[in-house]
Subunit: 243 residues, 2 copies
């Protein structure tokens, strides 16, 4: 399983991912799910992947091959075009692998979050479905999730606002959302990759990988748990009538 | 959809349920999912149901018929026996309906949480599966959920302890868990039924139904959201290295 999320605010983007991948319960490994494509000063993209690792690897390999030779993401004119470039490779790999997967009862499963910015265009956040079609985040729905998304969603629903949430705060929300999911589902696990893209920077200057014993992550986890427990204690006592 | 939960602590039990039921997106109604069977001073049971309303209604009708004539839950010697009584009716309804449901592509889907106590026995909490087999909550895993369980789970994982959580606190955790789920999934909805069973009381003295505009529920929701937002602001700023 996997959990990745992207948050879109007026100031920029926050993207986060776990690193656990498993083929069955007894075949669990660590794998990076966050990838960057950057032409400094001109364009910067971050991709997050969930689904079959074999399929997302193929999509990334093809995207990288095109990028290195100055095609695909290297020349997309808008973020919408970039999302379409990703969708084209999702469809390309579908053409290569889907039939043989489905014959043996596997679904063609690859979801990709794409965040970034191209000079002259606003920063944007997209989700590309296994069918290749793109969905955009919006001011009213400023975050996107893929994989095991439910455990980490309530904190985002309560806190994230496109207009009011700062990038510093959004990074904390992403970290808590990821940590809560790891706590409730063992198939989502560390390290956590967290990246912040500041609008109009056209490079990724803030990235961090949190291992399972990272002292900063541990401090956040402990403080957050204390906050929740104290918050519950401080709520008014529930009043009951008899029955 | 449905969300119900039961919490087991040293002091007693807390049970909570939403009230939304839907047969398709355009057929949504309100339905009580919490039911009591009580012989005051001797035994008290609370049942919570998820799954097909038609099936859980049948199970409850058969349990009530037996209870009224002094059989079934009225005479079960232990909570384990009571869970087996519920499981027998789940299997009885399966024998009546499963074949015709599956012929038309429906699953036989009914999950039941059973909490309560019989004089001379400890209070216990069970989950009865659609196959009729019972699972018990334990000191190390002191809560059980049925239905749309993921959104409301992280707060329980962070806060509930069999030994240390008071019934007053457990009631607040249940309310927050239910409210967070309603916020993130529109197929889970009010009113919320919340009941507290105090060990060795052998009657249900604390029950409350919270409608969508209940001022106490609204106050809890507002205060909780403020707690979360302030809690995130107060976390240490995430430090990033460059990349």
């Amino acid at each position: 399983m996997t959990y990745c999320l992207g948050i879109l605010t007026r100031e920029g983007l926050v993207l986060g991912s776990d690193s656990r991948t498993n083929a069955g319960y007894d075949d669990v490994t660590v794998c990076r799910k966050m990838h960057q494509f950057v032409t400094p000063g001109e364009r910067a993209f971050i991709l997050l992947c969930s689904g079959s690792l074999s399929l997302s690897q193929s999509v990334l390999t093809l995207l990288d091959r095109d990028f290195q030779r100055g095609a695909g993401l290297a020349v997309a004119a808008t973020m919408y075009d970039a999302a379409r470039v990703v969708g084209e490779q999702v469809r390309h790999v579908s053409a290569l692998d889907r039939r043989d997967l489905e014959r043996d009862g596997y679904r063609y499963n690859v979801h990709i979050i794409l965040g970034g910015q191209i000079r002259g265009e606003p920063h944007r956040l997209y989700l590309v479905y296994p069918q290749g079609n793109p969905l955009s985040a919006a001011e009213e729905s400023p975050y996107l999730q893929i994989g095991e998304s439910k455990y980490g969603r309530p904190i985002l629903d309560r806190g994230i606002s496109y207009d009011q949430t700062t990038l510093e705060e959004a990074a904390k929300y992403a970290l808590i959302s990821l940590d809560s999911t790891m706590r409730s589902n063992v198939t989502v696990g560390p390290p956590i990759d967290l990246a912040v893209y500041v609008a109009d920077e056209f490079r990724i200057t803030r990235h961090r990988r949190f291992g399972p014993l990272d002292p900063d992550l541990t401090a956040v986890r402990v403080q957050w748990e204390q906050t929740l427990r104290k918050g519950v204690r401080d709520l008014p006592t529930v009043r009951f009538g008899g029955e």
